[in-house]
């Protein structure tokens, strides 16, 4: 074991010493403090990049100086039909303080369209197979004035199951058929308003996923594509990205798309919780007091109250970049900026990786992080937060912290309940699940009705979430969870359970060897590990 006491090889990495402070981990809606073994490497997020001084101005400049096409005003003509599609509530995470960047961008875009005589404008939430947003969530995303003017007739959510609302755009040379929103396809101009939080967002994925139907997702939302992605946070090595790009070229050939991509910094904690992003060795008395108060309060509240506490804390994100124009050149610039904020250089892989699972994922805003979503956070997103090589070596151990409560929001995730309680006891094999059950869940009339007429994720969504963890599951030798309030949820996910982090590390070492290199990914804010 190479021990570099207190070493700071770069800004993002710290090594645990004998007198290091305990580290703080998210464990769902609570916080754990744990003393890590000497020599443990802790990887921190970069500090937030300073936001642009005037977000409206930055967006306006991007629109007037687009990449690969004429400025937006030059593309407009009176009487044309325009659709502005935008990311749904899964971005950013957690929801940002008002004004949301969607509102800011619309406050720039709508007057430009109006000045050009464009009045047939629809605002379309590109929720794909995610749940439709509630009216309150939609109002919050665009602000009261825009909501009042457009909702509900001209501001609504995409419906991937509306038989009249979809049209076929084409089929790729690989046989992947793409069907998209009729309104988007029949518009003279489709403007896509994106929020890029991690590198798997944006680009061609915005339109081809956000506005498509179930059949169009199947070619890439499947386990082999995930296995072939190394990782899906690294677009250059992501089979998921490649497939979306192929479909995106169909879109470029058929539609006029003007892409507006925004990049946010990683300032996700409000000031009262900002200490959670700090190196614990740098805590001052006030930080320690806040941590103690937060832990005391959270530990005494029921889960629902803890959840409400966290979900009501919006993030003070700042805009750090905006580019507009053709999808590919825009996304190239966006990704570069995104990596500037999120990529942290890390030297070498580890044998045991530790990460706390926070209370939120893209799929449970204002809802519960159910067991399948805990899974997508662990071997799914947390494992995939790398570029180059996985942060943990093949056959290594992933230690997660989460209560793993057996709780589901049946309004948001009705098909997840059946997936977890009926299918997983039979098999955890992603290919078998897809082959035998995915389509029947997708076509299940109850789930279709709940998606179309309620606020439920599509019936097939839990399958996608299971596939999302496929490369992690295959790569890792063991997953151990700390803080689980029961044994059967971890067992059903194929995980082991430990009473404490110390015990989990000991279990990990017994699996990979006494000299195991241990690394903790200090999340959130998000880190993409650039593993040399």
């Amino acid at each position: 074991m190479s021990v570099r006491l207190r070493g700071r090889p770069d800004a993002g990495t710290v090594f645990i010493d004998t007198d290091s402070a305990p580290r703080v981990l998210h464990c769902g809606e609570s916080l754990l403090e744990a003393r890590l073994p000497v020599g443990t490497r802790v990887v921190y997020a970069r500090p937030p990049i300073a936001p642009v001084p005037d977000a409206h101005q930055a967006i306006r400049e991007a629109i007037e100086n687009p990449l690969g096409c004429d400025p937006l005003p030059a593309q407009l003509r009176p009487g044309m039909r325009a659709t502005i599609a935008m990311d749904d509530i899964s971005l950013p995470l957690p929801p940002m303080e008002r004004p949301d960047v969607r509102q800011t961008a619309l406050e720039v875009l709508l007057p430009i369209l109006a000045a050009a005589g464009v009045d047939d404008i629809h605002l379309l939430v590109a929720n794909s197979l995610h749940r439709k947003m509630t009216e309150g969530e939609m109002r919050r995303a665009v602000g009261d004035d825009i909501h009042r003017e457009f909702y509900p007739d001209r501001y609504y959510c995409h419906d991937a199951e509306d038989p009249q609302g979809l049209v076929t755009v084409g089929t790729t040379p690989h046989g992947e058929r793409l069907r998209l929103s009729r309104r988007a396809c029949e518009s003279d101009l489709l403007i896509y308003l994106n929020i890029n939080l991690v590198p798997m967002d944006g680009g061609h994925k915005s339109v081809t996923v956000g506005l498509c139907d179930y059949e169009s997702l199947r070619p890439h939302h499947e386990p082999q594509t995930i296995l072939d992605s190394d990782s899906y946070m690294d677009p250059a090595r992501s089979a998921l990205s490649r497939k979306c790009d192929r479909m995106g070229r169909l879109v470029d050939a058929a539609l006029d798309v003007f892409h507006v991509e925004t990049v946010l910094n990683n300032r996700m904690y409000p000031p009262e919780l900002a200490f959670l992003a700090k190196n614990e060795d740098d805590f001052d008395d006030r930080d320690r007091l806040k941590l103690r108060a937060a832990r005391l309060a959270l530990d005494r509240l029921p889960w629902s109250a803890r959840r409400a506490f966290f979900q009501r804390l919006p993030a003070p994100y700042g805009l750090i970049g905006c580019w507009a124009g053709r999808t590919e050149p825009v996304h190239e610039r966006t990704l570069a900026r995104c990596f500037e904020q999120y990529a942290v250089a890390v030297e070498g892989q580890c044998d045991v990786l530790i990460a706390g699972v926070p209370y939120i994922s893209p799929y449970n805003v204002n809802s519960i992080l159910n067991p399948i979503l805990v899974q997508v956070m662990g071997p799914g997103y947390l494992f995939n937060l790398y570029r180059g090589r996985p942060l943990v070596r093949r056959g290594g151990v992933l230690i997660l912290a989460h209560p793993c409560y057996d709780a589901f929001d049946t309004a948001s995730h009705p098909s997840y309940v059946e997936f977890f309680h009926r299918l997983l006891p039979e098999t955890r094999d992603a290919f078998e699940l897809r082959e035998r059950y995915e389509e029947s869940f997708a076509r299940d009339p109850r789930y279709v009705a709940a998606y179309r007429h309620g606020h439920a994720y599509h019936g097939a969504h839990p399958f996608f979430m299971w596939y999302w963890g496929e490369n992690g599951r295959r790569h890792l030798g063991k997953i151990i969870v700390v803080g689980a309030e029961n044994g059967y949820v971890p067992e059903r996910l194929g995980w082991e359970r430990a009473a404490s982090l110390e015990e989990a590390i000991a279990m990990g070492r017994s699996h990979v060897g006494r000299s195991a290199e241990v690394t903790m990914l200090h999340l959130p804010p998000i880190v993409i590990a650039d593993v040399a």
Partner: protein
Amino acid sequence: MIRALGPGAAFYDLDGTLVRTNLVHVLLFYARNDRGVLKSLQRTAVSLAGIPLFFAAERVSRQAFNEVFFRFFRGLTADRLRLLAEELWEQVLEPALRPEAAELIERSRAQGLRQVLVTGAFDLAVAPLVRELGFDDCGANRLDLADGRATGHLVPPVMAGAAKAGWIRAYAEREGLSLGSSYAYADSLSDLPMLSVVGRPTAVNPDAGLRRVAREQGWPVLRLS
């Protein structure tokens, strides 16, 4: 090894589930349309006066409600009941049909599921609805008739509560259907037996009791308009 389930059916409750109306609307329709103005006024007045009694009986049990309720049909001829059923569909039930109901049935049929209505309403009254929505079968109450007139009693078993579940179980056995792969849709806690007997129960605009059970059991909850 994953066990394959056989073909199933989708069983639907009617009142409050597929339509926004309930049995009282049906009764009032028949009362309003009784032969002659005087008879009609008299039957309507009696029916309206009976509403508190229906509520009281329902508090005892759904079975008790049905026994009290169907007495109000005494004396109506089968021909008239049948004739008025068409108007009942056009004037009461079709306008009260939840807009999403037809799509739900259609998608369900596309999955190869048999479509079956299981209702506490009586068969003559719902016959046009069964036809128009394309149900394959219907389990409904049957009015006891003597000399072509309703006696005010039902032919047992009275279709309510556990009897609905029993009917579904017998139907599935007779038709060779798998209850495990069958669906049921209902809105009320009184339909809990019917929901519990299938593998895929769904609460539709549930009352407070059923909402609580659905939450505890992890059953999907549909909110239809």
